[in-house]
């Protein structure tokens, strides 16, 4: 599943990083603890979180993640947006909770 298919299927908001929408999603990771993501997330995964500050994009970039999803209608900080755009990693938004979003993605990826 491409990031763009994921966006379309769940009507996700694309805050920034449109350049990366054609990337293929290989998995997902759920955590709000940054060192946990740093230690355990893998390349091309979608990271679902409620953290909105720019270190989220720094980590997404360092780990080569496919996209970041902010849950529960949360909005990114301005520098988070800028960083997403710069790196070309999609920063997405949804009204779903983490549980709901992760459940849907898990089923879609048939993991």
């Amino acid at each position: 599943m491409k990031v763009s298919d994921f966006v379309e299927k769940y009507n996700l908001k694309v805050f920034a990083g449109h350049q990366g929408l054609e990337k293929e999603i290989k998995g997902g990771y759920v955590s709000d603890l940054l060192s946990d993501v740093m230690g355990n997330a893998a390349e091309d995964e979608v990271w679902i979180t409620l953290q909105t500050h720019q270190n989220v994009m720094a980590i997404a970039s360092l780990k080569d993640l496919a996209a970041v999803v902010l849950v529960k209608g949360l909005e990114p900080d301005n520098d988070t947006l800028a960083h997403s755009e710069e790196e070309g990693i999609p920063l997405l938004g949804t009204g779903f909770t983490t549980f709901q979003m992760a459940g849907k993605l898990y089923i879609d990826l048939k993991l």
Partner: protein, 135 residues
Amino acid sequence: MVFYIAGGDFSNAGKASSQIKKALKQLNVNAKSIKQIVVAVYEAEVNVAAHAWEGKVTALIGENDIQVIVSDRGPGIEDIQQAMQPGFSTASKEVREMGFGAGMGLSNIEKNTNEMNIESQVGEGTTLKFRCFYS
């Protein structure tokens, strides 16, 4: 390569790891080693921002390995063994709210490096050194 980090400045934490990642890619270092090195450098940078007053990252990029030295002026670490325990953290409430302070940083560094050493003087600062061989 040398990078400066100010205590409390989380917006700059990640610059050194990002630049080092680019440099290693240019040298065609294998992707797995780059991934591990980047995790270790990032965690070290964030520790300076989260726990110290100011510090610097020095990276010595060699043909077969990289050595990184992160030295800071700061409160130092009283009990290094305890600090290394996964889950141990003295991070402030503000830092925890950002999602840091899980107490996983130092163990992430240990897991992703071949050699790691911490020296610290309470009230003065900490020097963390690590080395990774490109596999």
